[in-house]
């Protein structure tokens, strides 16, 4: 059974591409930041903010909202874009990314923008915080769900597994981890730097329900999220296989794009690639 109608799926895919365009634009503007991860997670953040999450941009701290914890804080630009598109703040504010006085800090800070839920950047801490929220929610019989987005490489950090062990031991079925399995990190490919595989079996050994999905397939991702809601007495890990730099062919899978923004020339090329879907269609009217 498909959870998305054809119309909804196409709408989400179109929005994801628009978000990638906005992302490349603001990254060039910021002059520093991360490109590969946010592009790779554009589809999932679109699905989260425009289909999955129970949330209210007009009332960001609504008590019963689903909690979205971003553990790998460095990909926050795509979250900022999704929040702006969803109406949390004006799109013009995206231009302040990484600038002095901005609510849109280089790494997310909850005290400046409470809808971010947590402060993150130092890797390996999101799983524990999400588990704490999910545990407290269960104590209070709250029905909201807690989602935590993690990078693959932060599974090299012991703290991630301390949190995962706690969540598994406490059967936190209201917790869903979404792992950005894009295989790159700063020093190279994850399996060269410090292998993570077998990742699925590691989570299973920690008493998690695990699904592998194509992180660019809206249907597959949304189905996995729905399946997680039906899993009883286990937290769920969705290992989302993504292409770092997705949408801009010339940088896809290139780990050197982990932590740098595009230059002006690169921005133009990247935007052309995104607006023509990699040359498959004529450039759209707003080029």
């Amino acid at each position: 059974m498909a959870y998305l109608t054809e119309k909804k799926r196409i709408e989400l895919e179109k929005k994801a591409n628009e978000m990638r365009i906005a992302l490349v634009d603001i990254l060039e503007d910021a002059g520093s930041g991360h490109t590969a991860g946010p592009l790779g997670m554009a589809d999932i953040f679109t699905a989260l903010y425009f289909h999955v999450l129970e949330h209210d941009p007009a009332n960001p701290l609504w008590e019963d909202r689903d909690r979205l914890i971003l553990s790998n804080g460095h990909i926050v630009p795509i979250r900022y874009v999704a929040m702006a598109f969803a109406g949390y703040f004006p799109r013009e504010e995206l231009r302040t990314l990484r600038k002095f006085g901005s609510r849109l800090q280089g790494h997310p800070e909850r005290t400046r923008l409470p809808a971010l839920e947590t402060t993150s950047g130092p890797l390996g801490e999101g799983m524990s915080q999400a588990a704490g929220i999910a545990y407290a929610a269960r104590m209070d019989s709250k029905k909201f769900r807690t989602y935590v987005v993690l990078s693959d490489a932060e599974h090299q950090a012991g703290n991630t597994w301390e949190g995962a062990m706690f969540a598994g031991a406490n059967k936190l079925s209201n917790l869903t981890a979404i792992i950005d399995r894009n295989n790159i990190q700063i020093n190279g490919m994850t399996e060269d730097v410090m292998p993570l595989e077998p990742l699925r079996e590691k989570y299973e050994a920690f008493n998690w329900h695990v699904m592998d999905v194509d992180g660019h397939n809206m249907d597959a991702f949304v189905s996995a999220v729905e399946e997680a809601k039906a899993i009883y007495e286990r937290p769920t890990a969705i290992i989302a296989h993504t292409i770092p730099g997705k949408g801009v062919k010339e940088i896809e899978f290139d780990y050197t794009w982990h932590g740098k923004p595009p230059s002006k020339e690169e921005e133009e090329r990247f935007l052309r690639a995104l607006r023509t879907l990699g040359g498959k269609i004529e450039a759209s009217h707003h080029e």
Binding site: T118, E125, S128, A131, G132, Y135, D140, N159
Partner: protein, 332 residues
């Protein structure tokens, strides 16, 4: 003389008659009282329920006690998550591990994230005794007081520890409190005033020659030193400087100016600790001779608390010697 306004135990100068209790017991009692007063209070513990006295809370509020196992990084970040969901979490472990091992989680997920997590560091100082250097936290005040938004308290006895815990539960924001394993005299009473950030005089003189700022159970040893020196004609004031941050700057400055020489006393490294914090305040406001009692850039070792306090120069004799040294520098 003993400051009457502090309502201290009437037998304060007769150590053998005072009740002996560990400050960690004060945590155990205080957090149960805090749990009674506020259903949002939860206790998270990393496999040290009895020695942190968290088991008293576990017995009374099993549904609000969270076991995390030997995982101090998770202890802090999990608590930050629970705080984000509306809880007031107390995290209890040995100070050597929490905040020793999880400093960055406390920095990012608690302080920068402005979450009301209360970090309870047990087994501070060399008075831990036979467990040895690995378990004797001597750096915890330094690494906590450097964090923006963090409050740091070192209570002087079990009763004050209890008051500090109850006050921490009512305070917005992160709090660090350090506790000790060994039994020490309970010389304050229920009537002794306690408020975070408000130091008070335990011993006073009309014309003090040296001001002693102490924290933790060593406040009591400082009072003994002051009483003995009074017999020798050296007049001092002793301040219970329990809140290292935010420090009671007006009182510290006023007392230091009045005495003209200062001794700080703590069971901690002298660099970065309460003495360092006092020095930072005074160098801007009242630069007077200052002598620090504490551990001087060393690790502890196994032994009895008494042996270790003497060896590392934190017993009554060492405090008296420091007071004489401060006086000599002032007069020199």
């Amino acid at each position: 003389m003993v400051n009457e306004n502090a309502h201290l135990a009437s037998a304060i100068l007769a150590p053998d008659t005072l009740e002996q209790s560990a400050t960690r017991d004060g945590f155990g009692m205080g957090v149960v009282a805090a749990g009674d007063a506020d259903p949002r209070v939860v206790v998270l513990c990393a496999d040290l329920a009895e020695s942190t006295r968290s088991h008293w809370f576990r017995e009374k509020f099993p549904e609000r006690y969270v076991e995390v196992g030997v995982a101090e990084q998770n202890l802090a970040a999990l608590a930050a998550g629970m705080a984000a969901a509306g809880k007031i979490p107390f995290i209890a472990s040995y100070a050597a591990f929490s905040p020793g091992r999880n400093w960055e989680q406390i920095r990012t997920t608690v302080c920068l994230n402005e979450m009301p997590v209360k970090v309870m560091g047990m087994h501070a100082g060399v008075s831990v005794g036979p467990d040895g250097a690995t378990h004797q936290a001597l750096e915890d005040i330094a690494i906590m007081r450097v964090l923006p938004r963090m409050t740091v308290i070192a209570p002087c006895d079990a009763l004050e520890a209890r008051k500090a815990v109850e006050a921490a539960a009512k305070t917005d924001g992160p709090v660090y409190i350090r506790f000790h394993r060994a039994k020490t005299p309970v010389f304050t009473t229920r009537a002794t005033p306690f408020a975070i950030g408000k130091a008070y005089l335990v011993w006073e003189s009309d014309n003090p020659e040296v001001a002693v700022f102490a924290c933790g159970p060593l406040v009591y040893e400082a009072v003994r030193a002051a009483a003995e020196l009074a017999h020798e004609g050296i007049d001092t004031v002793v301040v219970n400087n329990h809140t290292v941050k935010p420090m009671d700057e007006p009182l510290v400055i006023e007392v230091a100016r009045r005495a003209g020489a200062v001794v700080t006393v703590e069971e901690h490294q002298v660099s970065g600790g309460m003495g360092g914090a006092v020095a930072e305040v005074l160098m801007h406001n009242a630069p007077v001779p200052l002598v620090t009692v504490g551990v001087h850039d060393q690790f502890g070792q196994s032994g009895t608390p008494e042996e270790l306090m003497r060896h590392y120069g934190m017993d009554v004799a060492s405090i008296k010697e420091a007071i004489r040294a401060a006086l000599a520098r002032k007069e020199g």
